[in-house]
């Protein structure tokens, strides 16, 4: 009895000491320790001490900034975040920020059903464009995402939306308008035991892009019989966006491969970054391997416009309207087109009609991943030439 009372007192006395001094020590530590500028884990600049300012204090803005600063600069911040993510996993959580923890190490991003009006507008823009340019051969490759192809590796009962309904509907609409829909879903399902997607990132791997390329080649009439490649790993320490976004599997690393054409037939291309006014003899920007965003190895990331010239025998020009999935895909096509123009409508504000005329484009390829395509708003704008005087007069002539 006596001992239990003594223990009782001991407990509260120690609790008092600990909780009087722990916060104090942490406070002193966070003052002494130098502020971190950049968080590698979150890939962002951490907030710094806000400046005192009368009106900011009165509005509550300073207080908010100061709290963010305290949080950002909390000692061992990354360790706490890892601890939180680990605890979540222990508690049985399998989803965070729209990213699911799949089986065999895959992180998979959820598919959000598109806004119907936006989807309709995009499809209309594409079909109108197809009718207007019936002289151009047009293809669409909308790559399924890992959540679709690897759905059997999703956590049990995960309440995800079905991407296939939308891809099917798109395929029907585009086929009716005369656009060749390149459906890689079956090919991907056949190869789903291979690494078609990165485990920690939302992109397809170069292997995945290669299978898609083989499928596309058939549809586009490209002879791939003389293609031979050396598969070369360029990094094994790629930590993709999905691990950053979810906080899960922060220890996991991916390998990035490049497929280099071999043999006597192999042609070398010249890559022209139009806006940047920069030319390169390689598709790959190896400097990016030193940064967090290692997928930017391919063409150094997304650019408004890239022109690729390759001394092929045939004289043909391909326009690719694309997202970042194209960046690891287009190098395969380069062997077969004299000129490829890659346009990323999210960054491109030029006149597409003019570009098609000036560059004498013969073929158009839409290359997107489904998650991006079905949430995209920029493709519709790029295809609809309403803001441009000359084009709108063209349209009225047609009507």
């Amino acid at each position: 009895m006596k001992k239990s009372l003594r223990n009782y007192r001991l407990f509260f006395h120690r609790m008092g000491l600990l909780f009087l001094f722990i916060p104090l020590v942490v406070l002193i530590l966070s003052i002494i320790l130098p502020d971190r500028g950049f968080s590698e884990k979150e890939n962002r600049v951490l907030s710094s001490l806000p400046h005192l300012n009368g009106s900011q204090i009165a509005s509550g803005g300073f207080e908010k900034q100061f709290e963010t600063y305290e949080n950002d600069q909390f000692p061992l911040r990354d360790l706490w975040i890892t601890l939180k993510a680990r605890t979540d996993r222990l508690m049985g959580k399998v989803e965070s920020n729209g990213v699911y923890v799949g089986k065999s190490g895959y992180l998979m991003e959820e598919f959000k059903a598109p806004d119907q009006a936006q989807y309709d507008a995009t499809v209309k823009a594409m079909t109108d464009f197809a009718q207007k340019h019936s002289d151009l051969k047009q293809y669409a490759l909308i790559a399924p995402n890992s959540i679709n192809i690897l759905s059997n590796r999703l956590p049990a009962f995960a309440p995800v939306q079905d991407q296939n309904l939308w891809i099917d509907s798109l395929s029907d609409s585009l086929t009716d308008a005369g656009v060749t829909f390149i459906d890689v879903r079956n090919t991907f399902k056949d190869h789903k035991m291979e690494d078609l997607y990165y485990h920690t990132d939302h992109h397809w791997t170069t292997q995945g892009a290669y299978y898609a390329y083989l499928q596309a080649a058939k549809a586009m009439g490209i002879d791939t019989s003389s293609d031979t490649y050396d598969k070369a790993p360029v990094t094994r320490s790629f930590q993709g966006t999905l691990s950053a976004k979810s906080g899960f599997r922060s220890g996991e690393k991916d390998e990035i491969d490049v497929f280099l054409p071999t043999g006597d037939q192999a042609l070398s291309s010249v890559v022209n970054y139009v806006d940047e006014q920069k030319k390169s003899a390689s598709f790959y920007d190896t400097e990016k391997l030193g940064t967090r965003d290692k997928y930017a190895l391919f063409f150094g990331g997304n650019h408004a416009q890239i022109k690729i010239n390759t001394p092929t025998e045939t004289d043909n020009t391909l326009l690719v309207l694309k997202d970042s999935y194209a960046n690891s895909f287009v190098p395969f096509l380069a062997q077969h087109y004299r000129k490829i123009i890659m346009i990323d409508p999210r960054y491109y504000f030029g006149n597409l009609e003019q570009l098609i005329q000036v560059e004498n484009v013969q073929e158009v390829l839409y290359l997107y991943n489904a998650n991006t395509f079905f949430s995209d708003t920029s493709l519709e704008l790029a295809l609809t030439p309403e803001s441009d005087g000359q084009d709108s007069s063209d349209t009225s002539d047609n009507e």
Partner: protein, 462 residues
Amino acid sequence: MVFNSIFFIFCFLPVFMLLYYLIPGKLRNLLLFFGSLIFYAWGEPVYVILMLFSSIFNYYMGTELERLYYDDRKQKINLVFSIVVNLAILVFFKYYGFLLNTIGGITGIHIPHPELSLPIGLSFYTFRNLSYLFDIYLSKINAQRNFLTFAVYSTMFPYTSAGPIIRYADIEEQLKQRTINISKFGIGAELFVKGLAKKVLLADNLSVLYSGICSHPQMSVLTAWTGILAYTMQLYFDFSGYSDMAIGLGKMLGFDFNKNFDYPYISTSVSEFWRRWHISLGSWFRDYIYIPLGGNRVSPLKHIRNILVVWALTGLWHGASWNFVLWGVYYGLFLLLEKFVLQKYLEKIPSWIRTVYTMLVVMIGWVFFSQTDFGALGHYLGTMFGIGASGFIDSTALYYLKTGFILLLISILACRPAPYQYFRNLIRRRPAAAIIINLILFALSVAYMVYNSYTPFLYAKF
């Protein structure tokens, strides 16, 4: 400022407590007053003036009410005046838009009104100050002559933003004289860590579970029940966690506040539930509305009226929307039902069945509480009973039950007294283990609070 933030725990609290323990006892009230103003003004810099005005006004009215003790009529006029002023402020900030919308809905005349943000803790400090005036009027207490002492009561940071609604009578002595020492600080710290863990580890995660479920417009019966179970648990741990932190902080400052929650989810009747849930609010309505209206010592019809009035007001206190009134009246009806019909039956059945009955009433009640839109409310309630549901069970339900299983299990255990009794025994037998448990809970809570600002920048997203 909120308690469950890195800034409060690792910046405000250590600096404040260090000063509080180092300065002479005479100055503590002054420090507490200014500390409370800073606490309130942090994030709410303009409305601190409103809170100060309320303190000054009610301090003055308190002395007036006492001065007019022998002049019944004048005292009554002064009381009514001060009630009107207090309620006018509350109504203006909290119910203005609600009133105009309701009038607009009935008459068709839509009066445009600015959307005012609700001053933090307004409902709480209005009720606290009113209880002070009522108690003076009822001669339960003497008015406080010293403004600083009253201001400390009226603005003290542990309970200023979210209660409990501490009565002046309960801490009158402590406002002048209170003991502080490391052990009492430790008692407070233990309570604070418990409350913090309830809020950050349980309530916030239950909230993620519930909002995940609510993102599905079409649910199965089981999904809807899983959702409302998560919400039921979330509300309890959120509110009781905050109260635990408040009471804990009070202990650190040398105060002893009464408990605000007493394991409400083990209640065996709805009336018992309300004796265990948000005790300081229930007793406020009992003492200052229900009993002055005559309570149960009137004709049965008036008694019924009293109960319904009190519960409609209790509902309205929780938010400026009709669903809260509905929620209050719902409880009023169940209390009447128990009082006049069910009581004699309830006595005969085993207590676990009574708890199941009570929890069903409570959980369905939370549906009224959770949905301000009547259409959504009706849809959710309907789904729980199979109307408009996509079947009884579906994979979505299994997903949330599977991924939320541990959380829900811990929650159900943690709203019962047994784990806390076990912990108290552990303190007696192995104090070191008990300390380690507290440190682990604290560290996990810190991890979740740090994570709140985790905002990875997703480069070139696609």
